[in-house]
Symmetry: C2
Subunit: 138 residues, 2 copies
DNA sequence: ATACAGCTTACACTTAGCTCTAGGTCAAGG
DNA sequence: CCTTGACCTAGAGCTAAGTGTAAGCTGTAT
């Protein structure tokens, strides 16, 4: 199951430009070429791309992803650092989720206010003053 | 409870540069000055900053935050669009959380593999081949 | 045979969001 | 009086992550 760059881009929801950029940056290893020099994305490349997208979409910078790729190329003696990087990144994602939830609480409180305020506005009643924060929120 | 720019920056975990940048960009409205021209951040400014940070940290671009500020300055006739923006942003955050959780599942599967692989490596056993993806994962 | 689609490279450009620098003002302390 | 520290503005510079362009090659279809 091989893909041209356009097919790979479509499947991964990336642009052709981005795929070439990732290749240039060394996030993919040793991408094969057909006899006229066009890239061939194999199943392995696609699996690596899945991981790259996963890491990128969870906030890992390209340079760090490249580190992972480099380690992968170095073989089994880098299994531990790769494992550690993923462990740390997992913790990072869990923190991101918690942070988002925390921010959500402020948005929800704002929305409570806007709900009341909109209602008041629509009925020509006096608009309530904006919700206040407790000191520990900033 | 007023703050100098340095105090405000500290409290908000931003740099002075960033605060001036936000002011320049119009994310804050009408920041007061003392008699020698130095910014004074009031409680209201700090509350707005809290919201700005919340929106920014949940992925809202600066330009969109400015739109919100602009609407706020226009008064009550923009209560509805402001409400809608926050509603939409809330949905966006919920989607982000779901996406992170989905990505977490791939990381977890990778970690399962790395666990086994590290164990095998440490005991000089044959390293298992990397976990495979089902087709619908990319 | 020629036009076209799809690929190639090298390299310049863009955008967001800061971040820093230079040069200057101002108030307080020695 | 002079220095120090905290602030000011205008504007340049930086980083990350692409995005786009120009010029050129290749394989297929008319």
């Amino acid at each position: 199951m091989n893909y041209t760059i356009a097919q790979a881009a479509k499947k991964m929801n990336l642009t052709i430009y981005t795929l070439r950029y990732y290749d240039r940056e060394g996030l993919l290893t040793n991408v094969k070429r057909d006899k006229s020099g066009n890239r061939i994305f194999t199943k392995d490349d696609m699996e690596m791309l899945s991981l790259i997208c996963c890491l990128k979409n969870t906030g890992m910078p390209i340079k760090k992803i490249k580190q992972f790729t480099d380690w992968q190329n170095e073989g089994n003696q880098t299994l531990h650092p790769r494992n550690d990087m993923l462990e740390n990144h997992k913790e990072d994602i869990l923190t991101q989720i918690e942070d988002l939830k925390k921010h959500l609480r402020l948005i929800d409180r704002k929305l409570d206010y806007y709900h009341d305020a909109c209602q008041a506005y629509d009925t020509n009643s006096p608009i309530p003053t904006c919700c206040e924060y407790t000191d520990d929120e900033f």
